[in-house]
């Protein structure tokens, strides 16, 4: 089993990250470096760069392959056929005309219902605060009903 390559996190040089964990790491690290002005490579969202480097990177990105592939359809040795005409049809219903509604927001329900919640993935201090608030909230729920 060959060992995996360690990559350097774009936000913090000290972060040496396994290639396969990069996605996960970036999710967290991005939050801590929200103010840092970085740009994304259009081909791969784990490629995070400083603005001046972008142009060079885009030219040489290893994931550019699919893009080139997409752009060069016309050079393919055979051509795809034409699709057949599609009959006009009238659907008995039309949802386009119906008014758009607001989407369901589970957080709203959750913040009022007497259910147990936890705040995973937050900072310990936030979690502690959340727990305190939850206790009060649920107490209020229990007493109010």
């Amino acid at each position: 089993m060959e060992s995996e390559e360690l990559l350097q996190c774009p936000y913090d040089k000290a972060h040496q990250i396994l290639e396969s964990r990069m996605q996960v790491h970036l999710g967290r690290c991005r939050r801590n470096h929200a103010a840092v002005p970085k740009v994304l490579c259009p081909f791969n969202v784990t490629h995070i760069l400083n603005k001046p480097e972008l142009e060079f990177h885009v030219r040489s990105c290893p994931d550019r392959k699919t893009f080139e592939n997409f752009c060069n359809i016309d050079k393919a040795p055979t051509k795809a056929g034409k699709p057949p005409p599609v009959p006009e049809y009238q659907c008995p219903e039309n949802w386009d005309e119906e008014p758009r509604v607001n989407t369901y927001n589970p957080r709203e329900y959750v913040s009022e219902a007497p259910i147990l919640r936890s705040l995973n993935g937050a900072k310990p201090s936030d979690r502690k605060k959340f727990r305190q608030e939850e206790r009060l909230r649920l107490q209020a729920c229990v007493q109010g009903i």
Binding site: Q23, G27, R30, P42, F43, N44, V45, T46, D63, T66, N69, F70, N72, I73, A76, P77, T78, K79, A80, G81, P83, P84, V86, P87, Y89, C91, P92, E93, W95, D96, R100, V101, N102, T103, Y104, N105, P106, R107, E108, Y109, V110, E112, A113, P114, I115, L116, R117, S118, L119, N120, G121, A122, E134, R135, Q139, C141, V142, Q143, G144, I145
Partner: protein, 895 residues
């Protein structure tokens, strides 16, 4: 049972402190107190009123403080238009006393795409709320379903103290750790101890010195062992950690049923079944979890099975020892397999065999050298019988190495049990059938098993004791859930419409109806080994006839004959054929050969992009009684070829114009573990185009999430634009293959960037509101099952309440019909919605989308685009191993 006229039973979102209005006796839709319904279930909330508060539907004294006009239910949020049948399913307790068991097909220990724990929902999408928004739909016929959940009626009402327990000298075996701690059980009262963490109701502060409680105990050899307890926290009734404790209590209770823990689940060694003729046992077991669901805390119980092989590696060794060159044979059979060692319940992969070593060899420990014989005797009290056997070597995994364990692990064949099914077993039809009989339970049997489980849990002495000491109680009847059967869809063919039958299948309609859109095949080529020419010509004639009955014109093909059927001949023939620019190739393979198939597909998808239809001789050649079935095979082949040529065999009524549905799935190659491919398939507004856009990208080894999803979507939008001259009005994205634990990841790596990118594109195209999109996560491997009248629910049965999760906008849908076993619903989780369709419409749309897979004239368990994406990812991962040629990207060439 009366039918509540309104929805008071389901209103949600009671505001704390303002609940007074709901309980008014005159409240609309209120159910009269039901004398016959037995005592109202005691809530899991300590306060008996809370559990049923949502509807205030029972005449409980705690409600109705201020009398209010009977129309005043509107002062709190109500879920509108709830199915009239049911309030909280509790009310149905006295209708049919169904409980039961549900099932699963052969349960495999495959954790692909799942990550345990951590459902981070803090950044969980969504932004707008306001007035009567609900995740419940209303269309369709209301039915009552029983789900494989039990209510947790009571739970501990007091705080629970949590301690960390350490032993000195260290004790490895959990069983012993438990035993030592049990010597002091009097001071704890009711307690749970999993080996490191102790939960109990008493605070031992007065006995503690410097925050640590030290206890002494003696082991069998008379040595003194010091147990150190450190208080680390308190779990309050309002903490979500209580759920963890409840789960632990349940597991303790289940231990009382004489079940054995294998992996994470409990299995029943008493009820095991021997599969005759094979050294194999099937252990029935239970998969349980207690979770906070929509309104209550529910216990989900699912019946699983474990296939246990009873043969040890030593037995394989003795078998092979009879033959010549046993070392090589043994190595061939054993290397690469995964073994289970009973003494510590762990699995290892065998990487090599050391014939020099034997159990008598010594290795060094910190207490000096010791032989394997002695080691196992001392540590696990196991006597190794054969002193001559070679030893197995397992390389530490990456993870072990990171954990500091970087030496080879030496295993004794005698103590290693083989696991998994070998190819030999898998291809054994008789064995697989025998296994299926035990593992594939129909709804009745499954319900029976669940009932059995529950009654054991309620009646066995030990488990009752555990539950009582923690003041916990589980309901004895299955949860009843309001469900709806969505109306059957109409299938549009060329000149007629047919309504799906009960099984959602319309195969028969193609006998004499034309397809919705067909492409006449005028130039095509059949590649065939010369000696099979006659049989193939017969089949082509049948295809012709099948085409005629569907009003599709299929001209006589030209035949590219090959002298033999070697890979090179196929390559050559495909080159020759494509030179004449055919619409489609039909390639006949004499036998099913993966390598050959791979070679053909590489040629047709990458080098010479042309749609191709591979058939094996076995399927198309008449064999005795099968002559009659050939016509239906020919029909299916014609339908498939039509779909590959951008025809559209059928359509459904699609009430949205300008809709792009997108499916995304990842396939991890079974053979080459280093390769994973993600495929994206998008429709180009089905009402006006029969094209599909598809693209494939390679992922890092085993990676489920895509870094390139935003890029792929821009390609799809570009294709849509060149097709229609405008961007799609709505996008519905179905993402398959991500587990619960990855939701947050999906949001971070995929949805977030996707949304940003698409909004950018839409804004630059002059649509200031950005892109209107729904992103739905599709999960097939879930433990939820539900039944209607003790039968499998019919296709189109939706459940969107009670057993759903409160932090999600989700629903369950059974869209497929199954002939054997229990149908398993698919869970859909809407994690982003900027489209503004009500929940009801999203459910209907999803159901519609399951009708459009052109390889199967029936409904699927996932939306068709997901299945297409899976098919494409599978083709690339298993056969062609590289991105297909872009010239094909607008057709369903991978079908």
């Amino acid at each position: 049972m009366d039918k509540p006229s309104g929805s008071a039973g389901r209103s949600r979102g009671i505001r704390a402190g303002s609940g007074s209005s709901q309980g008014h006796p005159g409240a609309r839709g209120r159910r009269p107190p039901q004398a016959g319904a037995g005592a109202p279930p005691v809530s899991a909330w300590g306060n008996p009123n809370v559990g049923m508060s949502r509807g205030a539907s029972r005449g409980t004294p705690a409600v109705s403080i201020q009398p209010q006009p009977s129309t005043s239910t509107g002062s709190f949020q109500q879920r509108p238009q709830a199915p009239a049948v049911i309030g909280r399913a509790v009310a149905h307790r006295n209708v049919p006393p169904t409980e039961g068991a549900q099932g699963q097909f052969v349960s495999k220990e495959d954790n692909r795409g799942t990550v345990r724990g951590k459902r981070v929902l803090t950044e969980m999408v969504q932004s707008r709320p306001k007035n009567l928004v609900t995740k419940c739909g209303f269309s369709g016929r209301n039915v009552v379903a029983q789900a494989n959940y039990y209510r947790v009626l009571k739970k501990p009402k007091w705080s629970i103290h949590q301690y960390r327990v350490d032993f000195s000298p260290d004790v490895d075996m959990v069983r012993l750790r438990r035993a030592y701690l049990a010597h002091h059980k009097d001071i704890f009262g009711g307690y749970i101890f999993d080996g490191t963490v102790l939960f109990c109701a008493v605070y031992l502060s007065n006995k503690m010195v410097n925050g640590v409680l030290e206890l002494l105990t003696k082991n069998r050899e008379g040595e003194t062992i010091l147990i150190k307890l450190k208080h680390v926290g308190i779990v309050e009734v309002a903490d979500a950690q209580l759920l963890q404790v409840l789960n632990l209590i349940l597991r303790r209770g289940m231990e009382g049923l004489k079940l054995q823990l294998v992996g994470r689940n409990f299995f029943d060694p008493v009820a095991k079944v021997d599969v005759s003729g094979f050294q194999m046992q099937i252990w029935p077991g239970y998969q349980t979890s207690i979770r906070q669901h929509e309104q209550d805390i529910l216990l989900c119980a699912e019946i699983t099975h474990k296939v246990m092989r009873t043969d040890t590696i030593y037995q394989i060794l003795t078998e092979t020892a009879k033959g010549k060159d046993y070392k090589t044979t043994f190595a061939q059979r054993v290397i690469g397999t995964v073994v289970l060692t009973d003494y510590n319940n762990k699995t290892y992969r065998v990487d090599d065999i050391n014939f020099e070593l034997s159990p008598l060899s010594k290795f060094s420990t910190k207490d000096g050298d010791i032989s394997y014989m002695q080691y196992y005797k001392q540590r696990y009290n196991i006597t190794i019988r054969d002193h001559q056997q070679p030893m197995l070597i397992s390389r530490p995994t990456e993870r072990n190495m990171r954990g500091g364990q970087n030496e080879f692990i030496i295993l004794v064949p005698e103590l290693c049990r083989a696991t998994g099914l070998t190819d030999n077993m898998r291809s054994n039809f008789r064995l697989m059938k025998a296994m299926g009989e035990h593992t594939r339970l129909n709804p009745q049997r499954r319900l029976e098993r669940l009932r059995n489980f529950n009654s054991r849990l309620q009646n066995s002495k030990e488990s009752v004791e555990v539950f009582n000491s923690w003041n916990m109680a589980v309901d004895n009847a299955l949860v009843e859930v309001p469900a709806r059967v969505l109306p059957s869809e109409q299938i549009l063919l060329h000149n007629c419409k047919v309504t799906c039958d009960q099984n959602a299948d319309w195969t028969r309609e193609f006998r004499n109806n034309a397809m919705y859109v067909h492409v006449n095949i005028k130039r095509w080529c059949v590649i065939v080994p010369r000696r099979n020419l006659r049989q193939v010509q017969d089949f082509i004639r049948l295809c012709n006839r099948a085409g005629q009955s569907m009003k599709m014109e299929i001209s006589e093909p030209w035949y590219e004959e090959m002298g033999d059927d070697r890979n090179a001949s196929y390559s050559q023939a495909i080159d020759n054929a494509t030179a004449r620019d055919p619409q489609i190739l039909m390639i006949v393979m004499a036998t099913n050969n993966e390598e050959k198939y791979s070679c053909i597909k590489k040629k047709c998808c990458v080098d010479r992009p042309v749609p191709s239809q591979v058939v094996t001789l076995r399927t198309i050649a008449p064999r005795g009684d099968r002559a009659s079935g050939l016509m239906s095979i020919a029909t299916k082949v014609v339908i498939q070829m039509n779909a590959k040529l951008m025809g559209s065999p059928w359509m459904i009524n699609l009430p949205l114009r300008g809709l792009m549905t997108v499916g995304f799935d990842v396939c991890h190659s079974a053979k080459d573990k280093n390769k994973s491919y993600g495929a994206l398939v998008a429709t180009m507004d089905l009402t006006s185009s029969t094209r599909y856009f598809s693209t494939v990208t390679q992922h890092l080894k085993g990676q489920e999430l895509s870094n390139e999803i935003a890029m792929n979507m821009t390609y799809a939008l570009k294709a849509y634009r060149s097709e229609h001259g405008a961007l799609p009005k709505n996008i519905v994205f179905y993402r398959d293959g991500v587990g619960d634990g990855q939701l947050h990841q999906v949001f971070n790596t995929e949805v977030h960037h996707l949304k940003k990118k698409l909004d950018e594109i839409y804004v630059s195209a002059g649509i200031a509101t950005g892109c209107s999109m729904v992103f739905i996560i599709v999960s097939k491997r879930i433990n939820t099952r539900y039944f209607v009248n003790k039968q499998n629910p019919v296709p189109g049965t939706v459940v969107d309440d009670v057993i759903t999760l409160p932090e999600r906008y989700d629903f369950f849908l059974v869209s497929q019909s199954v002939r054997q076993g229990t149908v398993s619903p698919t869970s859909y989780n809407v994690i982003l919605d900027t489209m503004g369709l009500p929940a009801d419409k999203i459910q209907i749309l999803t159901y519609k989308m399951t009708h459009l897979y052109y390889n199967w004239s029936g409904t699927l368990r996932v939306p068709a685009v997901c299945q297409y994406a899976h098919k494409l990812a599978f083709l690339v991962a298993e056969s062609i191993h590289r991105a297909p040629n872009a010239a094909l990207e607008m057709q369903l060439y991978f079908l």
